[in-house]
Symmetry: C2
Subunit: 141 residues, 2 copies
DNA sequence: CTTATTGCAAACCATTTGCATCCGG
DNA sequence: CCGGATGCAAATGGTTTGCAATAAG
């Protein structure tokens, strides 16, 4: 289902601003972007796009399940198009590069939680930090 | 080693403000606190403590390895005294309660990363979200 | 005495909100 | 046309910074 139908099916309007923001997310699948970055890129598609609208669109897409918030070390938020594929991220502490990590041991961990307490786990977030291949080699260089 | 010696050994001064802030962290071992919360509690020990000083003390303690930043879903930072015991947190989405989770599968995950890419993992953060035993039972009624 | 530390006020910066205008349906 | 959506400007809230006064060693 495309963006227009998704929006209409939930009673929202299909606007060029939303199209621009969503287009940027899709084009950067797997690369978490800050609202600022999204705005800058989306302005190339719809030049008069306001930053406020960018924020509001990103939140809306999260509500609709079209995008997800990514929680990294930093303070600002990041957003990614929701592909349905569960994954985490590895962030390079040197250059800031972000790699996708498909491995996730949450199911095993949930088992342990279930055994150890009555807490019901419904969500989780995890990020790994370290050094990417590029920074490792140039450092040794 | 106590706080006074730790500070002096690194050339910092031992002040009642720092003592108050550190005391609050120690007293709340295992319970991540926001700077605001730390400030409020520390004021009971040193009433004229400024919020700015609280922020600066918390950062200093992290640098000295006496405290650690905790990364939860929310936007504000949390701090915890550093006990040396690695652990994560489970946050209740209903009442906000935070439970300590000692289980951690990072070593297994590092193995997988090592096999799958050249990324060198040095740090990680993880938080689980869900519902605590109390909220689960009261919800069922 | 010397200078790190403190507390205040002001600056900062990402994000949110109020509101008049605009435009999708 | 009508109400949701937009963009601007102003407000917000957590955090940081500048600076003169203070106090640790």
């Amino acid at each position: 289902m495309n963006l227009e139908k998704r929006l209409h099916s939930r009673g929202y309007r299909y606007t060029p601003q939303r199209e621009a923001v969503f287009g940027v997310l899709k084009e950067n699948e797997g690369k978490p972007l800050s609202p600022e970055e999204v705005h800058e890129l989306a302005c190339k598609r719809f030049s008069s796009l306001g930053l406020t609208t960018t924020y509001r669109s990103l939140e809306l897409f999260c509500d609709l399940g079209l995008a997800t918030r990514v929680h990294l070390h930093g303070d600002s938020h990041y957003y990614e198009v929701n592909t349905g594929k569960h994954h985490h991220h590895m962030v390079c502490l040197s250059c800031g590069a972000i790699e996708i990590l498909e491995a996730c041991l949450i199911e095993e961990l949930k088992e342990r939680v279930r055994d150890g307490s009555d807490f019901l786990v419904t969500e989780h977030c995890m990020s790994l930090f370290g050094y990417c291949p590029g920074c490792l080699t140039s450092r040794k260089g």
